[in-house]
C-alpha cells in the first residue's frame, strides 16, 4: 500500500461519498416534497433509497477511518524500523551515547504526531479537492444560480483561510517559544525545590508558581484568541453563504420561479458543501505538527546517513601484528583531524597503553581500531589486509571491549553476559564470572544470574559493573582486548579485584588500554602518547621517562598530586 494508492483510495472514497450525499439529499427532499406539497405518501423506493444511502454513508465513513488509521499504523511502523536500522548502521561513534537517546525519544513522540496527519489532515485535504467540485458541477447544472453562489463563495473562503492561516501561524510561532519556556518553568521550580528550601525561598516560590501559571494562561489565551478568531471567521463565512443560498431560494420560491423540492435539495446540499472547509480549518494544526515532525525525523535519518557495505573477510589476529599506517580521521564539521597521520605497530600478545590529555584522540583511536569509524586516509592492517575494507561485524569477532562506563541492557544478567557468546554454556558463564571476581556477589543475589537488570544495572556499584564487564570480555575470549581503564570512585577492595581480573584477562592477548594508572603504564610493552591528534611519543616507561616530553611532564605532575600541601 504505497502513498499513491492511499491518495487514490481517499479520492475514490470522497467521490463515492459525494455521490451518496447527492442521492441522499435528493431522496430526502423528494420525500418531504411529496408529503408537504403533494400531500401524498411517497413511494416506497424513495424510502429504500434514503435508508440505503444512510447505511452506505455510515459504512463509507467507517471504511475511510479504518483505511486511514491503518495507513497511519503502517507508515509509523515503517518509519520507526527505518530510523532504527539507520541509527544502527551509522554505528556507535555517530549515534553516540546519551544525546541520541533523548533525540530518539522525542522523535518517537514525533512519529506519533503523524497519526493525526494521516487520519485527519490528508483525508480532509483530499476531500476538499473532490467534494466541492462535484457538488458545484452538479448544482450548476441543476440550479445554476445556487451553483454560482457556491462557486463564488468557495474560493473566497479558501482565500480567507489562507490569509488568517498565515497570520495566525506567524503570531503562534512567535508566542510558542515563550509558551514552552513557561511550562518548563514549573518543572524547573519542582526540580530545584531542595535548593530553594536550603536558600529559604520556597514560600516565595509558591507565589512565583502562581504568577508564572497566570502568565502562562494569559499568553496561551492570546494565542488561542487568534486561532479561534480564524475559526469564527470561517464559520461566519460558511453561515452567511448558507443563508445566501437559503434567502435566494426562498425568494424564488415565493416568486414561483422554482419548485420546492429543488429548493430544499439545494439547501440540504449547502451545509455538506461547506463542511469540508471547516474540517480542514480544524485539522490545519495537525497538518502543521505532522509536517514539522516529519521534517525532524528525516533530518535525523539523513544525519545517520548510509553506511558503506563491505565484504566480509575472515581475520585472524592471533600471532599477527596490527599495523597502523598514517591513520588520519576527522569528525564531520571539524577542521582539525582528531587523529593525524598516526603510525605504529601492535605486536601480538603485548600491552599497549594510550596516554594523553583528554581530547587528544585516544578514544577516537580505539574507535577506529574497532571499526566504529572509517579513516579519512591511511589504515589499519592485519596480515596485510585493511580492516576497514571488511564488514565491521566480521572484524569484531576478534575484539573484546571493556569501556569505562559499561552499559547493561534491560535483560537478565545472564542474557547480558551471553551477548558476548550466545552459545556459551552455564558452566562457561560461571567460569567467566569467577575469573572476573564477580561470581561471589552474583551468587548472593536472590535470583542469581537470572536477576533482571534495569536502568543500566543501577543496582550494582561502579566496581561491580566493571567486574561484570570483565566477565563479558572473559566469555568472549577474543584475541584482541580493548580497554578503557576505570579512573575514579572505586573502593580499594573492588580495585584489588579488578586489577587481578584485568591482569588475568590480558594474558596471551593483544591489549590496547587507555591507561589512567601509573602501575599500568609501567608494565606496558609500549606507550603511545597522544596530543592534539598526533602520536607524539612512542616507547616504554623507561625510554619515555628520560625524554623531555609530554610523558615526562605527566610524571612530574604526579610527584605533587596534592598541591594543597603548602
Amino acid at each position: 500500500m504505497d502513498v499513491h494508492f492511499f491518495i487514490k483510495g481517499l479520492a475514490l472514497y470522497s467521490l463515492a461519498f459525494t455521490i451518496v450525499v447527492l442521492v441522499q439529499m435528493y431522496a430526502l427532499s423528494a420525500i418531504i416534497h411529496e408529503v408537504f406539497m403533494l400531500s401524498r405518501f411517497p413511494e416506497t423506493w424513495l424510502f429504500l433509497l434514503l435508508a440505503a444511502t444512510i447505511l452506505l454513508r455510515s459504512a463509507l465513513i467507517w471504511a475511510r477511518e479504518r483505511f486511514s488509521h491503518l495507513k497511519a499504523v503502517e507508515v509509523k511502523s515503517r518509519l520507526r524500523s527505518d530510523l532504527f536500522s539507520r541509527l544502527l548502521d551509522a554505528g556507535p561513534a555517530h549515534t553516540g551515547k546519551g544525546k541520541t537517546g533523548g533525540v530518539v525519544a522525542s522523535v518517537m513522540e514525533g512519529i506519533e504526531k503523524l497519526d493525526d496527519y494521516f487520519t485527519h489532515y490528508i483525508p480532509s485535504v483530499i476531500h476538499i479537492a473532490v467534494l466541492p467540485f462535484v457538488i458545484i458541477g452538479f448544482t450548476l447544472y441543476y440550479d445554476w444560480i445556487s451553483g454560482l453562489i457556491l462557486l463564488i463563495t468557495a474560493p473566497l473562503i479558501l482565500f480567507f483561510m489562507f490569509l488568517i492561516g498565515t497570520y495566525a501561524s506567524k503570531t503562534t510561532q512567535k508566542q510558542w517559544k515563550e509558551l514552552s519556556n513557561m511550562s518548563s518553568h514549573f518543572l524547573d521550580a519542582l526540580q530545584g525545590l531542595k535548593t530553594l528550601k536550603v536558600l529559604g525561598r520556597n514560600k516565595q516560590e509558591q507565589e512565583q508558581v502562581w504568577h508564572q501559571s497566570n502568565r502562562f494562561r494569559e499568553i496561551t489565551m492570546k494565542v488561542l484568541r487568534v486561532a479561534f478568531l480564524s475559526g469564527m471567521v470561517l464559520e461566519l463565512a460558511a453561515s452567511i453563504s448558507i443563508a445566501l443560498v437559503a434567502v435566494q431560494v426562498g425568494i424564488r420560491l415565493i416568486e414561483g420561479l422554482m419548485v420546492f423540492q429543488a429548493g430544499l435539495f439545494v439547501l440540504l446540499l449547502a451545509p455538506e458543501f461547506y463542511l469540508p472547509f471547516r474540517t480542514l480549518g480544524t485539522n490545519h494544526h495537525a497538518g502543521m505538527e505532522g509536517a514539522a515532525a516529519a521534517e525532524k525525523i528525516f533530518e535525523l535519518k539523513d544525519e545517520a546517513g548510509n553506511s558503506e557495505k563491505r565484504v566480509s573477510d575472515e581475520f585472524v589476529v592471533t600471532e599477527a601484528s596490527i599495523k597502523v599506517e598514517k591513520l588520519t580521521f576527522r569528525y564531520e564539521n571539524n577542521q582539525n583531524p582528531a587523529i593525524n597521520q598516526v603510525s605504529c605497530t601492535l605486536e601480538p600478545e603485548t600491552l599497549t597503553a594510550l596516554v594523553g590529555p583528554s581530547g587528544a584522540g585516544k578514544t577516537t583511536f580505539i574507535y577506529l581500531l574497532m571499526g566504529f569509524l572509517s579513516p579519512e586516509s591511511g589504515g589499519i592492517k592485519v596480515n596485510d589486509k585493511l580492516i576497514n575494507e571488511t564488514d565491521a561485524e566480521t572484524w569484531l569477532r576478534n575484539v573484546a571491549y571493556v569501556p569505562q562506563h559499561p552499559h547493561f541492557f534491560d535483560m537478565t544478567l545472564k542474557e547480558n553476559l551471553l551477548l558476548a557468546k550466545p552459545e556459551a554454556t552455564d558452566g562457561e558463564v560461571d567460569q567467566a564470572l569467577k575469573q572476573a571476581h564477580a561470581y561471589e556477589f552474583i551468587r548472593h543475589l536472590p535470583d542469581g544470574k537470572d536477576t533482571f537488570l534495569s536502568e543500566n544495572a543501577s543496582r550494582f556499584s561502579g566496581g561491580e559493573k566493571q567486574r561484570l564487564a570483565l566477565a563479558r570480555a572473559f566469555l568472549k575470549d577474543a584475541p584482541l582486548l580493548i580497554m578503557d581503564e576505570p579512573t575514579s570512585n572505586l573502593d580499594p577492595e573492588s580495585e584489588q579485584y579488578i586489577s587481578e581480573a584485568t591482569a588475568k584477562l590480558m594474558t596471551d592477548r593483544t591489549t590496547i588500554m587507555i591507561a589512567h594508572r601509573l602501575k599500568t603504564v609501567k608494565q606496558a610493552d609500549q606507550i603511545l602518547v597522544f596530543d592534539d591528534g598526533y602520536l607524539v611519543e612512542n616507547g616504554n616507561h623507561q625510554q619515555l621517562k628520560h625524554q623531555d616530553g609530554l610523558y615526562a611532564r605527566f610524571l612530574q605532575n604526579m610527584e605533587t598530586p596534592n598541591n594543597m600541601k603548602s
Partner: protein, 570 residues
C-alpha cells in the same frame, strides 16, 4: 480521581456556568439554524407575501451569526476556565510538595518523575474540554430537544429521545472498551518499544563489539509488529465509532420522518413543520457525538489525575515539636544516628561525630558508603530512624525549620541552577542584595568574568555553565547568603585537577571561621581538616587528621595511594 479535578471547578462557579451555557448555546444555535432554514423554505413554498417571512429570515440570520459568535465565545471561555483550573492544580501541588517530606522526591529518577508530573497536569487539560463539557452539553441539549418536540408530537419526541440516549450511552461504552484495550496493550507496548530503543542505543558500543546488531534489529521488528497488531485492531474500532455516530443521527432523522409523514397527511402536523422537525432532529445529534471521544480520553486522564493527586495526599511533615529560634553558629553533633532508605539495606548505622563551631570536618569514602545521606539528615530532608542530631545542645527538630536552614550553605552536584538570569539565580540567596554586592560575590567566588553579565540566561535555555563554574556559582550564592556553616557534597567530582584546586583555593580564601563539612571521595586539601571521617558501608571506620590516618595504613591510606596512582590528564 477525575472527580478531584472537577472539584477545582467549584472555585470558578461563574466561569464554569458561563462556559457550560455557551457550549449548550452553540449546539442550540446549530439546531436553530437548520430547523428555521427548513421552515423558511417550506413557508416560502406556500408563496405567502414576502413580509410574512421577515420574522423567519431574521431568525435564520440570527442563528447563523450567533452560532459562529457563540462558539467563539465558548471556546474562549472553556479554555480560559481550563487554564485557571490547571493554574490552581499546579499551585496546590507545588505547595503540597513543598510541605511534604522531601524523601518522596529524592529518588533516583526524581527528574523523570517530575517531568512526568508536568505532563500529567497538561493531560488534565482534557478533563473539562473533552469530558465534563461534552457530558453536560449532551444531557441538557437532549432534555431541551425532547421538551421542544413534545410541543410538536409526543411520539416524535420519544423517538428522538430514544436515539439520542442510545447514541449517548452505546458509543461511549464502545469507546471505553477501545480505550481499555489501549490502556492495557497499546500504551504498554509503546512504552516498551521506546524503552527498548533508548536502552539499546545507549549501549550501542556493547551491541557492536558483541555483534548483536542483526539480532537487535530482529527483536525490534518483532516488538514493532506486536504494536502494529494492537494498533490495527484499534483502527478498526475507531472507524466503527465514527461510522456508528453517523448512523445514529441519520437513522433517527429517518425514523422521525417516517412517523411524521402520516401525521402530516392526516393533518395532525402542519406540513411546514416537516422539514423543520427533520432537520432539527438531525442537527441535535451534534450534542452527543463528542461523547465517544470523551471516553477515549477518560482512561488517560484518570491515570494522570491519579498520579498528580497521589502527591497532594501526602501528609505534611510535622515532626518538629517546637519552633525554637536559631540565629548563630553553634556546634553540630550526630548522636548514634542510624538511617535506611529501604527496609532491606541499612544506609547509615550508629554514626557519631561532631563539628565544633568553626571547625572543618571531612567525610570521605568510596561512593555508595552513605556520605551524602549525612547531608540530607543534617538539613532535615530526612528523619533519622534512630539517634538524633544536635545543634548546640538542642535537637534540630526542636528548631524553627526555616531559621535552622538559614545557617547552611550547600555546594554540591545536586544543587539546582534555575532557568533564569544569573542575577535571579544569585538573588535567591539574598533577595535584598544590590547588583554591586552580586558582583563582589562573583569576584570572590572566582567568577569575575561574569560580573558584568548579570542578565545572562542560565540553565537549559541560556548558556550552560561548566561543572566547575556551577560549583563556583554555588559558592557565590553561599557568600551572598552569608551562612555560618558551609557544606560541600562531592562538589569537586568530575572536575579536572586544575579546576579542583581552584575551588579549594577559593574555599580557603572565603571560609573565615565558618564551620565546614566537606564530603568527598577526592582526597585533596585534607591536611587542612581538623578531623577526617572515613566511611565504608554506612559506618565510620576511621577518624583522625590526615597525618594520623596515613600512618594507620587503613582504608584512608589505601584510598590516598590509589588516587595518587592516577596519571593527571591535564
Amino acid at each position: 480521581m477525575i472527580i478531584k479535578v472537577i472539584g477545582f471547578l467549584k472555585k470558578y462557579k461563574l466561569r464554569f456556568a458561563g462556559a457550560a451555557l455557551l457550549a449548550i448555546g452553540t449546539v442550540l444555535a446549530g439546531i436553530g439554524l437548520m430547523s428555521t432554514s427548513g421552515y423558511l423554505i417550506s413557508r416560502a413554498a406556500e408563496r405567502p407575501i414576502i413580509t410574512d417571512l421577515f420574522m423567519v429570515t431574521a431568525a435564520v440570520r440570527f442563528f447563523g451569526i450567533s452560532r459562529a459568535v457563540v462558539r467563539y465565545a465558548e471556546r474562549l471561555a472553556s479554555h480560559d476556565l481550563t487554564f485557571k483550573i490547571l493554574m490552581s492544580i499546579r499551585y496546590t501541588l507545588f505547595r503540597k510538595i513543598d510541605q511534604s517530606p522531601v524523601k518522596q522526591l529524592m529518588g533516583k529518577r526524581h527528574g523523570d518523575l517530575l517531568s512526568r508530573l508536568v505532563n500529567d497536569i497538561e493531560t488534565l487539560q482534557n478533563v473539562y474540554l473533552k469530558i465534563v463539557s461534552p457530558v453536560i452539553t449532551a444531557g441538557v441539549v437532549t432534555g431541551i430537544v425532547f421538551v421542544l418536540l413534545l410541543f410538536v408530537d409526543v411520539v416524535l419526541a420519544l423517538i428522538a429521545l430514544a436515539f439520542l440516549i442510545s447514541n449517548a450511552v452505546l458509543i461511549p461504552l464502545l469507546a471505553h472498551r477501545i480505550a481499555k484495550g489501549r490502556g492495557k496493550s497499546e500504551v504498554q507496548t509503546k512504552s516498551d518499544l521506546s524503552a527498548f530503543l533508548v536502552d539499546r542505543l545507549q549501549g550501542l558500543y556493547e551491541l557492536f563489539w558483541t555483534r548483536q546488531k542483526t539480532s537487535t534489529e530482529k527483536q525490534f521488528n518483532g516488538m514493532q509488529s506486536r504494536l502494529d497488531q494492537v494498533e490495527r485492531k484499534n483502527a478498526g474500532a475507531t472507524g466503527m465509532l465514527e461510522g456508528l455516530n453517523n448512523a445514529f443521527s441519520q437513522l433517527a432523522m429517518f425514523t422521525v420522518l417516517i412517523f411524521a409523514i402520516p401525521l402530516v397527511l392526516n393533518g395532525q402536523l402542519q406540513g411546514v413543520m416537516l422539514a423543520m422537525v427533520t432537520l432539527g432532529v438531525l442537527s441535535s445529534f451534534e450534542a452527543v457525538q463528542n461523547l465517544g471521544n470523551a471516553f477515549l480520553h477518560y482512561e488517560t486522564a484518570e491515570q494522570a489525575a491519579g498520579r498528580v493527586f497521589a502527591l497532594t495526599e501526602q501528609e505534611p511533615d510535622r515532626r518538629g515539636k517546637s519552633n525554637m529560634a536559631v540565629d548563630s553558629l553553634e556546634s553540630i553533633a550526630f548522636r548514634k544516628v542510624s538511617f535506611s532508605y529501604t527496609k532491606e539495606n541499612i544506609t547509615l548505622s550508629d554514626i557519631n561525630f561532631s563539628i565544633p563551631a568553626g571547625n572543618r570536618v571531612a567525610v570521605v569514602g568510596p561512593s555508595g558508603c552513605g556520605k551524602s545521606t549525612l547531608l540530607n539528615l543534617l538539613l532535615r530532608f530526612w528523619y533519622p530512624d534512630k539517634g538524633k542530631i544536635l545543634y548546640g545542645n538542642r535537637d534540630i527538630y526542636d528548631l524553627d525549620e526555616e531559621q535552622y536552614r538559614k545557617m547552611f550553605a550547600v555546594i554540591s552536584q545536586d544543587e539546582h541552577i534555575f532557568n533564569r538570569t544569573l542575577r535571579d539565580n544569585l538573588l535567591l540567596a539574598n533577595p535584598e542584595a544590590s547588583d554591586e554586592q552580586l558582583r563582589t560575590a562573583l569576584h570572590k567566588a572566582g567568577l569575575g568574568a561574569y560580573a558584568n553579565q548579570l542578565d545572562l540566561e542560565l540553565g537549559n535555555f541560556g548558556m550552560r555553565f561548566s561543572g566547575g563554574e556551577r560549583q563556583l556559582l554555588f559558592i557565590a550564592r553561599a557568600l551572598l547568603k552569608d551562612a555560618p556553616i558551609w557544606v560541600f557534597d562531592e562538589a569537586t567530582a568530575h572536575m579536572d585537577a586544575q579546576t579542583e584546586q581552584n575551588v579549594h583555593r577559593i574555599l580557603e580564601a572565603n571560609l573565615h571561621g565558618r564551620s565546614l563539612l566537606f564530603i568527598t571521595h577526592r582526597l585533596i586539601g585534607m591536611d587542612k581538616m581538623h578531623q577526617i571521617l572515613a566511611m565504608q558501608d554506612g559506618k565510620i571506620v576511621e577518624r583522625g587528621t590526615h597525618k594520623e590516618l596515613l600512618q594507620k595504613q587503613g582504608l584512608y591510606a589505601k584510598m590516598y595511594h590509589l588516587q595518587n596512582e592516577l596519571i593527571p590528564e591535564a
